[in-house]
Symmetry: C2
Subunit: 430 residues, 2 copies
Amino acid sequence: MVPHLVTALKGPLLDLERGFLDATPRIERWFRLAWQEHTPPFYCSTDLRNAGFKLAPVDTNLFPASFNNLSADVMPLAVQAAMAAIDKYCPDARNLLLIVEKDARSASYLDHLKRLAAIMRQTGLNVRFGSLDPALREPQQVVFSDGQQLLVEPLVRGARRIGLADFDPCSILLNDDLSSAIPDALRGLHEQVVLPPVHAGWAVRRKTNHFTAYREVARKFAKAFDIDPWLIDPLFASCGAVDLGKRAGEDCLATNVDAILRKTRSKYREYGVRAAPFVIVKADAGTHGVAIMTVKDAKQMRGMDSEYRARMSVGADGRAVTEMIVQEGVPTFETINESWAEPVVCMIDRYVVGGFYRVHAGRDKDENLNAPGMHFVPLPFAASCHVPDSSALPENASNRFYAYGVVARLALLAASIELERTDPDQSLYG
Amino acid sequence: MVPHLVTALKGPLLDLERGFLDATPRIERWFRLAWQEHTPPFYCSTDLRNAGFKLAPVDTNLFPASFNNLSADVMPLAVQAAMAAIDKYCPDARNLLLIVEKDARSASYLDHLKRLAAIMRQTGLNVRFGSLDPALREPQQVVFSDGQQLLVEPLVRGARRIGLADFDPCSILLNDDLSSAIPDALRGLHEQVVLPPVHAGWAVRRKTNHFTAYREVARKFAKAFDIDPWLIDPLFASCGAVDLGKRAGEDCLATNVDAILRKTRSKYREYGVRAAPFVIVKADAGTHGVAIMTVKDAKQMRGMDSEYRARMSVGADGRAVTEMIVQEGVPTFETINESWAEPVVCMIDRYVVGGFYRVHAGRDKDENLNAPGMHFVPLPFAASCHVPDSSALPENASNRFYAYGVVARLALLAASIELERTDPDQSLYG
């Protein structure tokens, strides 16, 4: 089905992957116990990097917009996971309001929405689409780039509830990542469940919070399974306020870049890795792969020309980048058709439901692949994330995916903890 | 993958199937609400019959022994469903004791056990195998008919718990259907979860209880979705004590056969069905397809020769048949390679995880197919049971399976209610 996949997965399993396989029942129990303490976000996708010597998440998306890239085979898994989730939040729900991205008009986003809606309908919900766009006053057939249409309706806000005309939902599924601000329309909805909660939006969320939580999760997991946490955790550091346009924060960035490069170099020596380390400098809030740079020398942070600085200062939604994270770069060692590729794992509730490869023919193994020109290859992820074949040969590709499912779920767990800590209503966590 | 399957599914969807498809979100919500009231048994398989004019369950097995017949593709679904179940019963469980059938030695049963154990291991449990066989005193490598082996260990019973040597399980998964009696070893285990509960065993269970509960479920469902309950429910009647060897109960059987045949004939006229009705007379307790006869005329109940009566008097496990159920026969209209076939749907917790066809080249469409000489064809059931394509053409085979998943889950719900009603500890349902 995905014949070229094999090229992405050649070679024996890493010791790490082998270790995960051998420890499967213990790992699954570890997660089972963890989910007694923490509630996973409704859905999530995690970008992973497999460097051959380490396997780590580099970005965790709480508003996934790529379910169209999943293989159709995994739909039953997605439905079953969504059933479990809805049962938890809103067991007698009849209606679901799906709030879609304000500006997205691509055919692929429409395909994603259709698939997401099909999953939710199959859990026993009537699904309709709303938008936070204040300019939307009447129901509108949104026309996508390939000519397909979707009826998107204006929100109707009451004193305590939100809905659409003649449509009172029990739960509201956010697929707009709230980059600019938490809209008033979504505040004070104590009778309805908003999934994920609004403070998961990029107006509030920070990558440093996520990777701080991830670092703790990774250390705990590494201790339980006797591995070096660095093998699953990218180093990072952050600078407070940064304004590259005004050259504010450059020193802090340069210092952090230097520190992360030094630490990474030392780890590379420890593990006999011959590559040159690099770091990724990116906005601490925001998505869509904008404002991301690959840095191999701290000097680069000072020598940027004004055009480049301007480009790095604008994040998703056109918002100014005011905080940045410096993250250890994890090169990918996976290729599909001679293009570098990275796996993306999709989860609903606490379940891995599938995954795909993000592939970019024009980018290098140490660059961000989430950029125009990328394409996607669905993976037969599901079976192997759940039921690896520990008796199979080490080079059995499907066994590699089990490890991907484990690390992705560690990132999911970190997101749960991150959302608890950043929840404005701390009384919920007694 | 299953090329000949198409022949089993030709022809447009029944009105019933079409109606189920159109009502999908409402049906799924109906089940979601039902599962708030009732707890499904841990696992279950249901034999269905699709007559073209009606679609009904004819047997519901609470100790499924056929997971080996499922397609490997559905393993992730089974794991995910089992995770949800274990989370409910025993969230911090580390060990699972799987009690296997005492006498089964077939290669297919071993394959079933391996698959069941693989599913449970993947939920984070250490799995070991025990047996209720009192003759087993030491751990034994049980050799199956194809030479494969499995380590089966004697049970170690404490005052309040049961386990194996150096193995204290939180939950005990019964795969022995307790045909002869509820063993003392399984009584009074208040600290451990026995799945399913021991009163699901055939020593206690009666088909009439199941089909009484199913009749109520079917009526409720039929009312909610405005269909004739007969379209999903086989008529039945039972006689109290029957001893065919001594010709006791023959009159009652003959009367009931006659009544069911008359009612069925009247329904056939109502729906323009030209076939001759028949009934199935079988033991009210027990499994393995023994002691089952197809009857087309009440006179047959009186004219049986002594050899035939003797054969009908012995059920599974060699136990005497003392109660019988008279059930409307539902012919199958499905064939695979010119042999009659019936679908079997497998469920874990409240989820359909897959299915297969039971096929018998030597039996007719109005006969029991669960007999030596049968074989099995896995179905790509899962996707379609969860995500039918309501926009597809009516003859799209996969859409037919959605209806199978619905009717199978009605039988699952009936089993839940049956187990509540027959639970010796009624205080649980106050």
